[in-house]
């Protein structure tokens, strides 16, 4: 990548996302940085970019920065189509946003936005209750139960190999349940969603972690469906529906988008 190396540069323009050009932004929205920069709009043609000024002498990435980035885009996505940028996108100035970003890729962005019209992303995330899932596995896997008995109360260093062996079995058993439960969620929401992407698990206790692209008018049905599933799984899996979000999982390389769409119902 060609990072501009201008010694004199003290500030730059942070880009959050790309939206249709006719949006209006309420003044006073806080962006990333400390103190937070005020979010404003740079327009070109049928497109607009949400941006704010950033002091280059301070690093970015505090939790407040992360929440500011996602909060702004998610709030926008509830109203209009949004192409979210990955955290940390910086260009030199407003002209660069207008010309190099919006003008140079105008039609590509405009088409992508029109495809997202009236759609939002939700993420279904489920976590196994650690104790319950381990008991379930120990109850069904004889070798795991035997190993568990062998390591209980024993010197951790002396039983390291046994622990690893047990952990491998448990990990594989949980992974098998994750696969099954992820499929169950996919089946349950089939017909309500336009596309879905199974995210890689973010914890060994993940039961489900799936991003869904949903028409805004199907959001209520989706909530009800996931809620029913949460009731069915109560105690075993803590199930949450996160959203509406900007369609982070459904933008990006054209090939990735096509593959994601193909898995949809």
């Amino acid at each position: 990548m060609a990072v501009q190396d201008t010694d004199a540069r003290q500030s730059a323009v942070y880009v959050y996302g790309i939206l249709p050009g006719d949006i209006e932004l309420e003044p006073g929205a806080a962006g990333v940085g400390d103190p937070p920069g005020e979010v404003r709009v740079v327009r070109h043609g049928d497109l607009a970019a949400l941006v704010s000024d950033v002091d280059l002498t301070r690093p970015l990435g505090r939790p407040d920065d992360l929440f500011a980035h996602e909060g702004l885009l998610d709030a926008a996505a509830a109203e209009v189509p949004v192409l979210p940028l990955r955290f940390g996108a910086l260009v030199s100035d407003d002209d660069a946003v207008a010309e190099e970003l919006l003008q140079a890729h105008h039609d590509e962005f405009a088409i992508a936005l029109s495809q997202l019209e009236g759609r939002v992303e939700y993420v279904v995330r489920g976590r196994y209750d650690e104790q319950d899932i381990l008991r379930e596995v120990l109850g069904e896997n004889r070798q795991a139960a035997r190993l568990a008995k062998q390591i209980r109360g024993a010197d951790p260093d002396a039983t390291r190999e046994l622990r690893i062996q047990l952990g491998e079995i448990l990990n594989a058993e949980v992974a098998a349940r994750r696969e099954k439960d992820t499929r169950a969620v996919g089946d349950a929401v089939d017909g309500l969603v336009e596309a879905s992407v199974v995210r890689p698990p973010s914890s060994e206790l993940d039961a489900v972690y799936t991003a869904l692209l949903v028409r805004a008018d199907a959001a209520d049905d989706l909530e009800e469906t996931v809620s029913r599933l949460a009731d069915d799984w109560a105690g075993r899996v803590d199930l949450n529906l996160i959203g509406p979000l900007a369609a982070y999982d459904f933008v990006g390389a054209p090939a990735a988008t096509a593959a994601a769409t193909a898995t949809g119902g």
């Binding site: 990548m1 690093p59 260009v91 381990l134 990990n171 979000l245 999982d249």
Partner: protein, 132 residues
Amino acid sequence: MTTAMQPAGGGGGFARPNASGLADVLDTILDKGLVIDAYVRVSLVGIELLTVDARIVIASVDTYLRFAEAVNRLDISQEKEGLPGLVGELEHNGAKNKTKGALEAAGDKLREFANGYEEPQRAGRRSRREGD
């Protein structure tokens, strides 16, 4: 049947949507979305980012040891019918060996898988997990 409006923290375990925790935010905005480098080259500006690669490695020795530790912490008194392993040990040797062989083969496969994936592990995953 209940509705989606039930309060969070109840028995049903379903929070009203829009509850992004820091971990979810990390997974989302550090890993997804359009990458500016793909669109802007000349005017790109670099800045120090405090964030770390949040991805964790599921199949790793660390994961295995954590699982084993969690099993060690299980409250034995709550295990209704005792560990099934106790029964297993009294059972016929032949059947037991068969089971063991199959599971060990599976374990070997998993180990190969794990070896391939241990490399990208980063120190950052700890802090990330705590923020969860």
